[in-house]
């Protein structure tokens, strides 16, 4: 195996490990942090089914964003749906042997890459040209878009131009990562850049705003049933406080240097 293949193989496992460990830690943190009060935002669902439907609309259709701004919604939705389809199409590289037929249904969607790139360009345009959004943007916000754009464009170059890479080799490399039959990878620069940035993306997932992916599912304003009068909702820390028969003000406060309370 070539040195470059070894490095990329190692990088894959490294970034995957960071991704899995980091995400597990964050999801665990969200899971164990209580939501002490009922704070769903209108229009609120009154039943658990309603919450599931709301979350489904939010995740699949970006309902709230649609209400807010049609352009941001359009670009954001194009990007995410494009990315999802493109990711699904990548399954064929990682699948050892012949792909189950169900995945063939996704093959015609190779043009999703364009949706993804158009979406990203639109989002970048908004970030640069809309004064308000420029004001709230940090360097990392631009970098994130640039990184995704480079990933999308380098991928599209391999698919749609004559600069194809050796897909058989890619499949051997990628499925080898899964089955631990490590193999060499093609060494075209655009392919290596594509791959490297995907690894970076995986590694920064748990330490960046990409946490919006698990975050949306844990958002109390979106995942709570509006039934406060019917069912008692109480967090462990509040219950403990109640059981101790105390409204303890002192414990939650900073040190007071001045005289008595």
């Amino acid at each position: 195996m070539s040195a470059i293949s070894t490095i990329f193989t190692a990088l894959f496992y490294l970034s995957l490990a960071i991704f899995l460990i980091g995400m597990s830690r964050k999801i665990y943190q969200y899971w164990v942090t209580p939501a002490p009060l009922k704070i769903p935002t209108a229009p609120t669902p009154l039943t658990q089914t309603g919450v599931v439907m709301r979350m489904a609309r939010e995740v699949a259709l970006f309902e709230s964003l649609f209400k807010s701004n049609k352009w941001t919604w359009l670009f954001g939705w194009l990007f995410h749906v494009g990315l999802l389809l493109v990711l699904l199409r990548h399954a064929r590289y990682f699948w050892p042997g012949d792909l189950p037929e169900i995945f063939l249904l996704i093959q015609p969607f190779k043009y999703a890459a364009f949706a993804m790139v158009i979406g990203l360009v639109g989002l970048m345009g908004r970030r640069i040209f809309v004064e308000r959004i420029r004001y709230i943007s940090a360097p990392s916000d631009y970098l994130m878009l640039i990184m995704l754009l480079v990933i999308g464009v380098s991928g599209a170059i391999m698919t749609f131009t004559s600069n194809h890479t050796d897909v058989i080799m890619v499949k051997e490399f990628a499925s080898g990562l899964i089955t631990f039959n490590w193999a060499d990878l093609p060494t075209e620069v655009h392919f290596l850049v594509h791959l490297f940035l995907v690894f970076v993306l995986m590694a920064i997932f748990p330490i960046s705003k990409l946490l919006h992916v698990p975050g949306v599912f844990f958002s109390p304003t979106r995942n709570q049933v509006d039934d406060a009068r019917k069912k008692r909702h109480i967090s462990p820390w509040a219950l403990k406080q109640e059981q101790e028969h105390a409204v303890k003000l002192d414990e939650t406060l900073g040190q007071d240097n001045s005289e008595g309370k």
Binding site: L46, E131, S208
Partner: protein, 524 residues
């Protein structure tokens, strides 16, 4: 401190998203609280020496106690969906009044101290140190947020700036930099029982005067019982209802409705406040302390129903939080919560809103109206933010929008709604909520009222609307102040129950009042 000169916004035909104007709302913020108001709440009297340490520790505590804080700090992608949704930004054009930028004051410190990227690459991710300047910005800009939650409706992750602003205010209180208005009022509420500091004799006198006034005017002896043990309903209403215009006309309305229904009811001098400013300063404990007074009053007076008057955040606290804080509805485990739940009549929602009550009587034809009494008015309804975005009424989807409108349509002939994007879940705050209803914040209050005033101006032009109804004490006070600044009649703002009061047909002479009088009066 001399009042700063500022321009009152002009009302455009359509709300335009302003170009940003950095620093235009910079300032010292509202008057700071002093030791005499801080200490009774358990807060340091002045900025503590090691305030940075205390603040960071407090932030850590809050994000481990509130999932909302932790998730919202992590999840924002800076998409900008909220940037044009805040009435304070639309009215002031200060970019730090864009919800995401307001959150970022807090988030940037969170990133610096609690995240890998912020610790090692602060510039890259916009992480910032909590220095004096930042703390000043917190104090100023987190008191330019009315916690109305409009931004949360439009956020793809439901990020609620109110949660962040409550957390920031909690940190500020913990380091001894509290807001005078809220903390002074809270001191009165948790010692005397209402925000005005109105003691029992004063309250009793006020109510007696009111009874006389109504009897003189209508010839009917509508009663305003106080501390009547064994009454069916305990009414918890904002103390503004006891004396201020236009609030008191709403209280007159509640009394007439109770009278017509023939139900026995009472108010409590121990818990004579619906408002709960503990929510504004983000303190679970103080909010609970205020709510526990109401539980005690309900237990002492042995009522079987608890009802809440027209007050926006009071209804949020009552509807969404009371059951959690004190166990008023179902599922309580502590001694007093269980006692209360056994005592309250489970056939009714507990607590119930006065609008739900009146609506139910209308549905059952128990009260009748002469709608023509309000024919001189063309009425519109301002959805108060806490009612609209944080509660429900009637137990039906969107009941909090439907019930008040149905009540209004039952009592007047001319009702129209304002522009759809400015009502219901998208309603614009009056500009005075969230602990901002103080004269030292008049500039932001007036600027923040602009979007609501704009929608009102349009419907005034198209439909001749001359009456604005709200079911929130803060909205009513705020509108009374700001309406004239935008060339409206300050008296156009009324309570929903004022219109009810004007149209209700008082059929029954006072008959079953004897029951109330026989009931034992509680003496302190």
């Amino acid at each position: 401190m001399a009042a700063k000169e500022f321009d009152i916004p002009k009302l455009p035909t359509y709300i335009e998203i302003p170009e940003i104007n950095e620093g235009i709302m910079e300032g010292d913020g509202p008057f700071k609280s002093s030791k005499e108001f801080q200490n009774p709440l358990g807060f340091p009297g002045e900025k503590v020496d090691n305030w940075q340490e205390v603040a960071i520790e407090k932030m850590g505590e809050l994000k481990s106690k509130y999932r909302s804080v932790q998730v919202f700090l992590d999840s924002c992608v800076k998409c900008g969906a909220c940037t044009d949704k805040c009435h304070y930004f639309l009215g002031s054009s200060d970019p730090k009044n864009m919800p995401v930028a307001r959150q970022d004051l807090f988030r940037s410190v969170y990133r610096r101290h609690f995240t890998f990227a912020g610790k090692y690459f602060p510039k890259l991710v916009g992480a910032k140190e909590l220095d004096d300047e930042m703390l000043d910005d917190w104090y100023n800009y987190f008191h330019q947020c009315s916690q109305c939650r409009r931004c949360s409706v439009f956020c793809p992750y439901g990020i609620d700036t109110a949660e962040i602003s409550m957390a920031a205010r909690e940190v500020l209180d913990a380091v001894g930099v509290g807001q005078k208005y809220c903390n002074q009022i809270l001191g009165k509420a948790i010692t005397i029982g209402n925000n005005l500091g109105l003691p029992e004799p004063a309250l009793r006198d006020t109510l007696l005067d009111l009874e006389e006034e109504i009897e003189e005017e209508t010839g009917i002896a509508v009663k305003y019982p106080l501390d009547v043990k064994g009454a069916e309903i305990l009414l918890i209403t904002p103390s503004a209802d006891f004396f201020a215009e236009p609030h008191i006309d709403g209280l007159i309305g509640y009394g007439k409705v109770f009278h017509e229904d023939g139900v026995s009811w009472t108010m409590s001098s121990y818990a004579s406040e619906g408002a709960n400013f503990g929510m504004f300063i983000g303190s679970y404990d103080i909010m609970r302390k205020a709510a526990l007074r109401i539980r005690k009053a309900a237990l002492d007076l042995e009522v079987s129903r608890v009802m809440v008057g027209e007050c926006g955040h009071a209804w949020r606290v009552a509807y969404s939080f009371w059951n959690t804080l004190t166990g008023v509805g179902a599922g309580a485990t502590d001694e007093f919560g269980l006692k209360l739940q056994n005592q309250l009549d489970s056939r009714y929602p507990q607590p119930q809103h006065i609008i739900e009550y009146t609506h139910d009587l209308i549905q059952r034809d128990k009260i009748k109206f002469d709608k023509s009494a309000n024919d001189d008015r063309t009425v519109t309804f301002h959805d108060s933010c806490n009612v609209a975005r944080a509660t429900n009424m009637g137990g039906i989807p969107n009941g909090q929008f439907i019930l008040p409108r149905e009540v209004l349509k039952a009592v007047c002939n001319n009702y129209v709604d304002m522009e759809r994007s400015t009502i219901k879940e998208s309603t614009f705050c009056c500009g005075g909520g969230g602990g901002l209803l103080t004269d030292d914040l008049m500039e932001i209050r007036i600027k923040g009222a602009m979007p609501r005033m704009q929608a009102l101006k349009e419907i005034e032009k198209t439909d001749g609307v001359d009456t604005l109804v709200a079911i929130c004490a803060i909205c009513k006070s705020q509108f009374s102040k700001v309406l004239p600044k935008f060339d409206f009649d300050p008296y156009m703002i009324v309570s929903a129950h004022q219109l009810v009061s004007e149209a209700i047909i008082m059929e029954k002479p006072q008959t079953d009042d004897s029951a109330t009088q026989e009931a034992e009066e509680v003496t302190e």
